[in-house]
């Protein structure tokens, strides 16, 4: 709130309304852009509004959405970014394939993938916490190491055709892909927990002001360890969605997702500086970013053009994030 408004009683109602609007400005902005994109594409190609388009978009949302939850938790806790998601995803996918090939029940495959993700996240956390290193550098390094190890382990892997996990990747529930519903539920639950539970608020506090949090007795080490491990668990779950549908994959197959996930987190208003953001916004940002490439295909643009647009969106998102950060500190 600006100081001049604070000292002008006759402005209090308009100030209140303005503050209320500002609180919702980010989701309103995202929703508006998303709708405008849909409308513009539908005007150019009326068949854009179809069940097939909806399916294409929500399938894309599934994996990116779950990865974005893990990324958002790291970012909101002040860990900046987790750049090890590609190798973690492939590790967990490889474990899923091996468990499926061994004939394990689907629930065991899911647990195996999640535990793999948690272990990778915990390794990141241990290095960050014990060596007190920058999380970006550590996760970048572990990603490189992970990809190299994966390259030694295998060249291509695929879940058995006809297995439970393979069927899951092609199944539907209430007319929408089965892989989409877990993303929706997780965004809702985690978005609720992060603000409504003590541990969630501690996570935000650590990201918002580390020294103040420590003064209040919140352990940075413990928080960071748990957050990175939990984030890894989300990547492990995303691996189930990934390998259930992708067909043969290799150690490099997940690299392409990294930029979209980071863009989704920033667009959702989760500040790279930490301590601020609502995970529910991920639904809008992931939705928008998943609609852009589909829309561009309807406009007749090539894949190269899609990459340009996605890069531009990322630049805009980071610029907007920086602008909001400066506004908050003024």
């Amino acid at each position: 709130m600006r100081l001049e408004h604070a000292i002008k009683p006759e402005s209090s109602m308009s100030t209140l309304l303005w503050l209320r609007f500002r609180a919702f400005s980010a989701p309103i902005f995202l929703l508006t852009v998303w709708l405008l994109l849909i409308i513009a594409t539908a005007i150019y190609r009326p068949d854009f509004i179809s069940y097939q388009t909806l399916l294409a978009v929500v399938f894309t949302m599934s994996i990116v959405g779950v990865l974005a939850i893990g990324q958002a938790l790291v970012t909101i806790s002040g860990g900046f970014l987790d750049l090890s998601q590609p190798s973690c995803l492939i590790f967990a996918s490889f474990v899923s394939v091996k468990l499926s090939e061994a004939g394990m029940p689907f629930i065991i495959v899911i647990l195996g993938a999640i535990i793999t993700g948690v272990i990778v996240g915990a390794i990141n956390a241990l290095i960050i916490v014990l060596a007190r290193l920058n999380p970006i550098i550590v996760t970048l390094a572990t990603n490189f190491i992970g990809l190299a190890v994966l390259f030694l382990l295998f060249r291509a892997a695929e879940v058995p055709i006809g297995s439970e996990i393979h069927t899951f990747g092609r199944a539907y529930f209430l007319g929408l892909p089965a892989t989409w519903w877990p993303m929706l539920i997780l965004i809702f639950i985690v978005g609720l927990l992060i603000h409504q539970t003590r541990y969630g608020r501690q996570t935000i506090a650590v990201g918002g002001n580390l020294y103040a949090a420590q003064t209040r007795g919140i352990s940075l080490k413990k928080t960071r360890f748990l957050i990175f491990s939990i984030a890894g668990g989300f990547v492990g779950f995303a691996a189930i969605l990934f390998c259930s549908a992708s067909g043969p994959f290799n150690s490099d197959s997940a690299n392409i997702l990294q930029l979209n996930v980071i863009a989704a987190v920033i667009l959702a208003g989760i500040s790279l500086e930490g301590g601020r953001g609502h995970l529910w916004m991920l639904f809008l940002s992931v939705g928008l970013l998943s609609t852009v490439p589909t829309s561009l295909v309807f406009f007749g643009l090539s894949s190269d053009a899609q990459a340009i647009f996605q890069g531009l969106i990322l630049i805009l998102a980071v610029t907007f994030d920086g602008y909001r950060s400066r506004k908050v500190t003024l």
Binding site: A56, F151, A156, S246
Partner: protein
């Protein structure tokens, strides 16, 4: 006296071993190093095994799918003093620089699949292989759909450069040879990156933009690329009448083959060293190098492609087994001789 004799004998043996080693032919190999493909590693395994059988020294490096690394490797080969180099360079923009480095050192180079002036070309006729694959698919499209598909989708892999143009474009040409009346507007493309997982989302988008297409023929750079479209169609509930024909045979052997992958073109890439060594390196090692044939149309050694339907492909062992059988066969036996039914 005894001590003197022992020292003399050991010295003579040592000198003999060192001079033998110095005289042994040394073969250098730069494998592609891309994460995608087992055959890149296997190319090195086969070359090493043949070199060992011949009593040659062998020195292997990985290009790591990276331009700068491939040039650095050329310098390392010079430092290592190899007598000849075999390479697979998936980033062919650096081939001229590599040829300059190795040529200045007098080291002859065999290059796989992508021609470069001054290097011995050993490889497939990618365009011919693509046409053969396209004609294979065309026969099925004619038989099942009377040459009236709703869509012909190309799974491109632009990163492969001219090889993508030959293979994927060749498949379209081959399909057109059998079914010449398919309208141009039915031909669509998406960027698969030659990878089933990476190409999945673009494939879904393409299918969404063509919601009425039911009979879909798929061609592409490789098996992985075409499978991206197949998996996307399965997700969207539209795979009932999808027929895909791939290339490289990576995902059409074994017991986990997608039933919509109706054929592929085997290159038996893992066995290229048989051709390279038999037709080029042996001559160089014997002090009688063959003339440098660097053009794909007039190669130093031509690798034969093997188009195969899914049923024929079931008779072909998986790659690891192929490598074993190839190395157990007499030197000079090619994978085509062993495994191609056509």
């Amino acid at each position: 006296m005894t001590k003197f004799i022992k020292t003399f004998v050991f010295s003579v043996v040592g000198i003999f071993l060192i001079s033998s080693s110095a005289n042994a032919f040394k073969l250098g190999m730069a494998v592609g190093g891309h994460a995608c493909c087992e055959w890149m590693k296997s190319q090195g395994d086969v070359a090493r095994a043949i070199a060992e059988k011949k009593g040659w020294d062998y020195f292997e490096l990985s290009n790591e799918g990276d331009s700068a690394t491939s040039v650095k490797n050329a310098q390392l080969f010079v430092q290592e003093g190899v007598d000849a180099v075999i390479q697979f360079n998936g980033e062919p923009g650096t081939n001229a620089a590599i040829q300059q480095i190795l040529g200045a050192a007098g080291i002859p180079v065999v290059t796989y699949d992508i021609a470069e002036e001054g290097m011995y070309f050993v490889g497939i006729d990618n365009l011919g292989a693509g046409i053969a694959g396209g004609e294979g698919l065309g026969k099925l499209v004619k038989e099942k759909w009377n040459c009236e598909p709703d869509l012909v989708v190309s799974a491109e892999g632009a990163g492969a450069g001219i090889v993508n143009t030959w293979r994927t474009g060749g498949m379209r040409t081959g399909l057109g040879n059998i079914c010449p009346d398919i309208p141009a507007e039915k031909y669509k493309s998406f960027e698969s990156n030659g990878d089933a997982a990476a190409g999945l989302a673009p494939a879904r988008d393409l299918l969404a933009a063509n919601p009425d297409a039911v009979r879909i023929a798929v061609v592409g750079l490789n098996d992985g690329g075409v499978l991206a479209l197949v998996n996307a169609a399965e997700q969207l509930g539209r795979a009932d009448e999808v027929m895909a024909w791939g290339q490289d045979g990576a995902f059409i052997t074994g017991d986990n083959v997608n039933p919509r992958l109706v054929g592929s073109v085997f290159y038996f890439l893992e066995g290229y060293a048989v051709y390279a060594i038999r037709d080029v390196i042996d001559g160089i090692a014997a002090g009688n190098p063959p003339p440098v044939k660097w053009e794909a149309g007039d190669p130093a050694s031509q690798v034969k492609p093997c188009p195969a339907t899914a049923a024929e492909a079931q008779l072909v062992p998986v790659e690891a087994e192929r490598v074993k059988q190839l190395l157990a066969a007499p030197i000079g036996t090619t994978a085509y001789d062993l495994f191609c039914a056509n």
